[in-house]
């Protein structure tokens, strides 16, 4: 039989069963079911449970807090000059990233803006993990001189001075202090790295109890912002549908065809890419679990800006900042100061091996979150895959560093399949009402 005759014969039954609008789906008819080990590995990537609770934030799952947080998230008045809101770098239309190599604050920032989709499942926040909760993370851009650059007293006064914001805040957290008293609460007062800065002097001149009251307002604003971000939980990617079909099928898959792939219209290239991901390419080593992240920090050999060793300290500095952060899980403003997250802070290992390590990012929705890596080193997913395939341009991680990475030496077809698999992790958009500013920080009136 000639090659073309074989191709025609092979294609006929597939074409007949191919669902409209699902190109290439029928090709999975040639794919056998997953073996038991691979199937078990796939099921461990399933989003089954709700995100972990955050006991350091007592309003983490309070809908009123989520509403206030959503209002604040889109409110550029939180920035010193009204130029920035959280959505400036975490744009809902771009999978809650900004699409830039590194974010643009008042100056170009050092790092790429990670997605907020599924962020409630992250154990550490920022690329260097310098925050251990979403609410602690939310506070840092507010005062950062290159970002919002708004002092904490000013932030608290803005909430105090606007009727709806104040009502929403006080319904959740109780009465605000008398922030209208500028003698007690100087508008520009804030801690600064330079203690001779007049704003820092004004901050230090405040009564300790007043400073503490302002810090509590700041922490509570972060907790509301976190409550909103905890709701950014998309579902229903092609991969999710495939895993659901796989689970529904049970362990009885004994046929010659991957029926779960057929039932869920999972593309053949993605299924092949999935097997590579879990097998030959061994991406699961770091991209594990429902988030496709081990929630830890690694140095993957990316060079510094000059092509030499990396200069960004990453987790090495992040660990210190985390421990020193008064808003961490063990701090005064945590709602569970003696819980597991607080204890964990004392257990974290800092050493030379943490230099230039960065958080393993989620791969959920990765096709929508270019550019990639902590400083946007790669413009496309293909470039990322090519890097892991060859490690070309990488620098040694030093003799203290881990040696997880080896060049994968993947062929072009394998790279295509891995890309197809990663593309299958793309979720449908979230509900529209989560993607824009609500008209008010207060909950909607119940319909009469």
């Amino acid at each position: 039989m000639s090659w073309w005759a074989a191709a025609v014969l092979a294609s006929v039954p597939c074409a007949a069963q191919q669902p409209a609008g699902a190109p290439g789906v029928a090709a999975h008819e040639s794919l056998p079911p997953l073996d038991a080990r691979t199937r078990a590995r796939v099921l461990r990537l399933e989003r089954r449970a709700a995100p972990p609770a955050d006991p350091t934030n007592r309003v983490a799952d309070d809908p009123r807090a989520a509403r206030l947080g959503q209002f604040l998230f889109f409110d550029a008045r939180l920035s010193r000059d009204g130029r920035f809101s959280c959505a400036s770098c975490h744009d809902p239309a771009q999978a809650f990233t900004d699409g830039r190599r590194v974010s643009e604050g008042r100056v170009p920032l050092a790092r790429n803006a990670p997605t907020l989709l599924d962020v409630a499942r992250q154990r550490w926040l920022f690329w260097d993990g310098r925050a251990d909760s979403l609410w602690a993370q939310a506070l840092q851009p507010l005062e950062h001189k290159d970002e919002f650059d708004t002092g904490r007293v000013e932030l608290a006064r803005r909430v105090h001075g606007e009727r709806e914001l104040r009502t929403a805040y006080e319904a959740l957290f109780g009465a605000l202090p008398e922030l209208g008293d500028e003698r007690r609460f100087p508008p520009g007062a804030r801690p600064c790295a330079d203690e001779a800065d007049p704003r820092a002097l004004a901050w230090l001149a405040m009564e300790a109890a007043d400073r503490r009251a302002v810090e509590r307002v700041l922490a509570n604003l972060g907790k509301a912002l976190a409550a909103y971000q905890r709701r950014l939980l998309p579902r229903g990617s092609p991969f999710d549908r495939y895993v659901a079909a796989l689970r529904e099928q049970g362990e009885a898959a004994t046929g010659t065809v991957d029926e779960a792939a057929r039932a869920s219209a999972y593309p053949a290239a993605a299924r092949r890419g999935l097997e590579l991901f879990l097998g030959k390419a061994d991406c699961r080593r770091c991209h594990a679990g429902a988030t496709f992240s081990d929630q830890e920090f690694h140095n993957i050999g990316l060079a510094g800006p000059d092509g030499g060793p990396p200069r960004d300290a990453g987790r090495h500095a992040g660990l210190r900042a985390l421990r020193d952060d008064p808003f961490n899980a063990h701090g005064t403003f945590s709602d569970q100061r003696d819980g597991a997250r607080a204890r964990e802070l004392g257990q974290l290992v800092a050493g030379p091996e943490t230099w230039a390590t960065f958080r393993t990012p989620t791969l959920r929705n990765v096709a929508r979150t270019a550019p990639y890596m902590h400083a946007g080193q790669f413009a496309t997913l293909r470039e990322v895959l090519q890097y892991y395939s060859t490690l070309e341009g990488s620098v040694p991680v030093g003799h203290h560093g881990e040696t997880v990475l080896q060049p994968l030496k993947l062929g072009a077809a394998e790279l295509d399949d891995l890309a197809a698999f990663l593309d299958s992790l793309t979720d449908p958009p979230l509900a529209e009402e989560l993607l824009r500013a609500p008209p008010s920080p207060l909950p909607d009136e119940p319909p009469r």
Partner: protein, 153 residues
Amino acid sequence: MPDPRALLLLVVATPLMLGCQGDGAARAPAALGPGTPRSTAGYHTQASWNGGYVVHWRSAPAELPVGEPFALEAWVADARAPEVLLAGVELEVDAAMPQHGHGMTRRALVTRASDGSWRAEGLLFHMPGEWRLYFDVRNGPLLERAEARVVLD
């Protein structure tokens, strides 16, 4: 068919002395206490490299997870009386992936229970693959290590 995650391959550690070779003093465990034999059911048992001790250990949860914190319960016995809890020694617990040149990203918090057994909390294996659990039994200046090989899929 057993779940591959439960696949614990416990290697009977070859009693290589490595850097401790020739330090025969490490073979002198603390004096036996007046304890009565304890059940080892449900525990994995690991001899120390130098053969002076055995460490009985189990994890909570029993099926070691990837990416989630877990705890270990352990007790130490003199190798000559492996079912009698040995008091008067200290236990430290750590783990590593030698194949990848890294350890855990956190230190275990090890505390002694009132019965003389030990509990190590806050361990976390952040990757699948082969891990080594290290149980360091310290008796004054002397230290012996028991090592368990654990494979997580």
